[in-house]
């Protein structure tokens, strides 16, 4: 396992006996004990994820806000200090460079939290589209990120001295003191459950991890992170999104500013929306016996019409679910098609997403 990067929490994962896998160039824990149990902890109590492999690209300066406004599909100038928004970086062709969250840290400063696999690509993209006055900096290596997710998250943070958590509504963030150190606490996550993301200096990560697990958070790996986000129907870059997928096809219209302001790729995205996409992302459940997996063909009456982008068992629902691209006529709830599992068609039905509320 040479050449893999390690997060500041690598030693903690090894000490816990985690199964480690390469992910986006990092040696990451996929599970500690049981994906099902880790998944259940997040839905019922609280789970703790090391997501320090994710990247943070900071902007500071007189051009920072205008630059990010042009880079992102979502509104940025209207974002108030202390608030977070989800948005997309698009290329000129209207494909998705990355999906990110944008944090307004000050009048003239923001940062993007980006996918681990895309840090270098995003950073180059941002630098290419920014002037000196936007002050772009990649601070991924010096930043640790822990995600505390689940209904007990606020109680656990309160035990460690965090205050005013009731006032921190979803998609808000603030500087905070936690376990004796300074962090940025953000009421966000990637699981479909309530929770917080905690940004801290890399050197503080081990102490925070220890304090949070001592306070009752269960260590959770990337395996549970994936089953949780799939139940919430949250897209995963490289699966539902990539450089040639339009936000319209991925049904992310509500994160695109159609009316005002330009963003890179806006014309192509608008063209796709106006003409109508050729395919749409659909959420489905398996009707027949079988589990859909990423890459399996989707067929209608024997003809391949699409492909599964993510699929697997839903521990919460006790059934198999998935996401995939299909022609628009097949993308609405109630429609049926087959998932081709090892050469055999297995019936599936389109249902409302998120699968789990």
């Amino acid at each position: 396992m040479t050449g893999l990067q390690r997060t500041p929490l690598h030693e903690a994962h090894i000490a816990l006996g985690a199964r480690m896998v390469p992910f986006a160039g990092f040696d990451m824990p996929v599970q500690y004990d049981s994906i099902k149990e880790e998944h259940a902890a997040v839905r019922q109590t609280a789970g703790l994820f090391d997501v320090s492999h994710m990247g943070q690209i900071h902007f500071a300066g007189p051009e920072a806000v205008a630059t990010v406004e042009r880079l992102l599909t979502c509104h940025v100038a209207s974002l108030r200090v202390g608030r977070v928004r989800y948005g997309l970086l698009c290329n000129e062709e209207g494909g998705v460079v990355d999906d990110v969250t944008v944090y307004r840290t000050g009048e003239d400063s923001l940062f993007l939290c980006v996918n681990a696999a895309n840090v270098e690509k995003d950073y180059r993209w941002c630098v290419r589209h920014a002037s000196e006055a936007a002050g772009v900096r990649n601070r991924s290596a010096e930043t640790a990120l822990l995600a505390l997710q689940g209904p007990d998250s606020a109680t656990i943070l309160a035990k460690l001295g965090a205050v005013a958590l009731d006032e921190m509504r979803r998609f808000r963030f603030a500087d905070a003191e936690l376990a004796g150190g300074k962090v940025v606490l953000s009421r966000t996550g990637y699981t479909g459950s309530d929770g917080f993301e905690i940004y801290a200096p890399a050197g503080a990560a081990m102490g925070l991890w220890q304090a949070l697990t001592d306070a009752g958070a269960r260590p959770c790996g990337l395996g549970a992170r994936d089953t949780l986000r799939l139940e919430a129907a949250l897209p995963l870059y490289g699966h539902e999104l990539d450089d040639s997928t339009s936000p319209i096809e991925a049904r992310l219209d509500r994160f695109v500013k159609f009316e005002a302001g330009g963003f890179i790729g806006a014309e192509a995205v608008r063209r796709c929306a106006k003409a109508g996409p050729k395919r749409l992302l659909a959420g489905f459940e398996m009707v027949g016996r079988g589990i859909a997996r990423a890459g399996y063909p989707i067929a209608k009456e024997g003809e391949t019409v699409g492909a599964v982008t993510s699929g697997g068992p839903s521990p919460t629902l006790g059934k198999s679910i998935g996401l995939g691209y299909v022609p628009p006529a097949l993308a609405e709830p109630g429609q049926g098609f087959d998932i081709v599992v090892r050469g055999k068609p297995v019936a599936a039905r389109v249902i409302e997403t998120p699968f789990v509320h």
């Binding site: 396992m1 996929v30 599970q31 049981s34 099902k36 068992p313 090892r342």
Partner: protein, 135 residues
């Protein structure tokens, strides 16, 4: 090396199946090492009764939350029985891999194939070799 329950009274294939000799043939399942590697088993696909299998032939599929793994025939023979309970309770493979989690019974075409499988010491060495290689 991890902590695995590898039993003396069984034979093992390099693909992590265990084989127990019985009067009617051999009962087959996957080892404790294999179930630990897979994690939570959620789906098991087994062959039809009556199917003839060649040693090494894929005979079914076992899926955990994140992984899809093939099962291989550790010896040649005819499928006499499959465990019907695994359709509803695939987690038996995790909970009791040498008991309730059994997968199928094969008639044995060539008893020397059973003799040629790994014993406990040989299988433990095989696990260790793979762990040392980091696979």
């Amino acid at each position: 090396m991890g902590d695995y329950d590898i039993r003396n009274d069984l034979r093992y294939s390099a693909e992590d199946e265990w084989v127990r000799s019985e009067t009617k043939g051999v009962t087959i399942g996957i080892s404790d090492y294999a179930q630990q590697q897979l994690g939570d088993v959620v789906f098991v696909e087994l062959p039809e009764v009556g199917r003839l299998l060649e040693k090494g032939e894929p005979l079914g599929v076992i899926e955990s939350v994140k992984t899809v793994a093939d099962l291989y025939a550790p010896v040649s023979g005819e499928v006499l029985e499959v465990n019907p309970a695994l359709a509803e309770t695939p987690e038996a493979v995790n909970d009791d891999c040498y008991g309730e989690g059994w997968m199928l019974v094969l008639s044995v075409a060539d008893p020397s194939e059973v003799e040629g499988l790994l014993d406990r010491a040989g299988y433990l060495q095989h696990i260790k070799d793979r762990e040392d290689q980091g696979t």
